[in-house]
């Protein structure tokens, strides 16, 4: 086990070493390849003086807002599409059509429709978060066991009881998958929103500022944070997903 850990560390460490050597020896433009301590120093400076935590909080807040709205709407829409054959036949084709349009391609339209400010960004993130939840919820509702449905009918459940006590619980693993994907998409969308919509606080804004000022250390810092948050979100979502899907075949 530890041998694997050691092996795994070789390449990253090698990469860092090469980087350090190249930047120190001056073979590369220091703006493009800043020495590692420069990145660390920038990170420290940002964290202590430029309100890095504030930027991160702003990005996360936007992310969560868009995600919660999108996921909630997604579960509602997915349930409706899963329960009603008519709704499915009416709306799913159009939805699938709209879904084909790459999410980033919606940004100019959303910008023109929502203007400047947070509303536009949150609308975009909501749209990104909505899609995977709808699809997975619908699938989960559809795959509710027919035996259970018969039992519920025999027990004369009302519509709402059916939804609350039968459909939603049995769709929970699928919904969990949808929510997991939604969290990831929402995070990527919130960074995308910061790139293409008006400037506001956020990690995306930090990366863009780094590119404009030609400060690679800022860009690298932003990327590291991006990856780290993405990883944590993914990790957390996986954990929750496993929690909600007991006994699900691997």
């Amino acid at each position: 086990m530890t041998r694997r850990a050691v092996r795994g560390a070789v390449l990253p460490l090698l990469l860092l070493a090469v980087w350090e050597i190249v930047s120190k020896a001056g073979w590369a433009d220091p703006r493009i390849l800043p020495p590692l301590e420069q990145v660390a120093r920038t990170a420290w400076h940002q964290a202590t003086e430029e309100g890095l935590a504030y930027h991160l909080a702003a990005s996360l807040f936007r992310d969560m807002a868009g995600f919660l709205i999108g996921a909630t709407l997604g579960i509602a829409a997915g349930t409706a599409l899963g329960l009603s054959r008519t709704a499915d036949r009416l709306f799913t084709p159009s939805f699938n059509g709209l879904r084909q349009i790459a999410i980033l391609a919606w940004i100019p339209l959303i910008s023109i429709w929502f203007g400047v400010g947070e509303a536009a960004k949150i609308a975009f993130i909501t749209a990104a978060a909505f899609v995977p939840v709808v699809l997975n919820t619908q699938e989960g509702i559809r795959s509710a066991s027919t035996q259970l449905i018969e039992v519920a009918r025999a027990l004369t459940f009302t519509r709402w009881q059916m939804i609350a006590r039968l459909y939603l619980p049995s769709a929970l693993p699928s919904i969990a998958t949808g929510v997991h994907l939604s969290l990831i998409y929402a995070w990527v969308a919130s960074v995308g929103a910061e790139y293409f919509m008006t400037v506001g606080p956020g990690i995306g804004g930090l990366i863009i500022a780094g590119r404009e000022r030609f400060q690679m250390d800022l860009v690298i810092l932003g990327i590291l944070i991006l990856g780290l948050v993405g990883f944590l979100i993914n990790f957390g979502a996986s954990a929750v997903e496993t929690l909600l899907s007991p006994g699900r075949p691997a």
Partner: protein, 276 residues
């Protein structure tokens, strides 16, 4: 029984149309209604024209671009970029996935770095690469390649790993050489998952193309979006959006069809049958 249950349980009369036709009809109901509302809204100016141009204007913009060659130029360059980037990225992904799948040593060394690399979304890599390689064609190809690389590697790895061990045992019985094992057992068995990976890779490649063209381009469909937005030509924006959706859809359909053709190579064990 409540009213809702009664209604739900009732037998609704069938329309009497063949299933396919009635399906298509119902599917078109919502888009056509929206189109109608859209046209009416433009006619009666329910919304200011800068928020919603008339459908006729969008159509006119489309025809205009198709006629003066702009359309084919932009679609062409976007497709070219995707093809080049996807080819590069998936080749690299296939090789790495195979290497990692076949050799646990390689996997031990490479996987952690790869995972870290994969954690950063394509959008995050774009500004980094912009600083490194500028904003010309190499940037686009690199970004698209990266986007395709990750899913192809992962799925290739999973595909190679997913070959049941008894197949390897059969190879041992026949005293296959390494090369023969690869050619006759591993590769054919892992083609379906690899192909799934290629399909994901193409989807991601197309998404990455849109992203990079939005940020730094002088032609292409993403560029059309930017241009339309700057000039407040919502009709151009919409045409570009529809084209992006259409091309993305067609690309996916082609790969889906190819995937279907390769189904007969899928491993069916224990009578589980094949997934359509």
């Amino acid at each position: 029984m409540t009213a809702a249950n009664v209604i739900a349980a009732a037998n609704w009369p069938r329309l009497g149309l063949p299933r396919g036709v009635s399906d298509a009809g119902v599917a078109l109901l919502v888009p056509l209604t929206l189109l109608g509302i859209w046209a009416a809204s433009a006619c009666f100016a329910w919304l200011p024209p800068q928020i919603l141009p008339a459908p006729s204007e969008v159509w006119a913009a489309f025809l205009d671009m198709a006629q003066n060659g702009d359309l084919s130029r932009h679609v062409g360059i976007s497709l070219l970029r995707v093809v080049e980037g996807f080819a590069a990225g998936s080749l690299a992904g296939l090789l790495l996935g195979l290497a990692m799948g076949l050799s646990p040593t390689v996997e031990d060394y490479v996987k952690p770095l790869f995972t870290g690399f994969a954690q950063v979304p394509t959008l995050g890599w774009i500004p980094f690469l912009m600083l490194l390689v500028g904003i010309g064609e190499p940037l686009k190809i690199l970004v698209i390649a990266k986007a395709a690389f990750v899913p192809v590697t992962l799925n290739t790895l999973a595909g190679v790993r997913g070959v049941p061990s008894m197949y390897a045992e059969v190879g041992a019985i026949f005293r296959f050489t390494r090369w023969q094992v690869l050619r006759k057992i591993v590769l054919p068995a892992s083609v379906p998952p690899i192909f799934a990976g290629l399909r994901y890779g193409l989807t991601h490649a197309w998404l990455a193309l849109v992203a990079v063209e939005l940020l730094a381009s002088s032609e292409g469909l993403g560029y059309l979006l930017v241009w339309g937005r700057q000039m407040f030509w919502l009709d151009t924006v919409m045409v570009a959006m529809v084209l992006i959706g259409l091309v993305g859809f067609v690309l996916d359909r082609i790969t889906a069809e190819l995937e279907k053709r390769l189904q007969h190579w899928r491993i069916a064990d224990g009578g589980e049958g094949q997934r359509a």
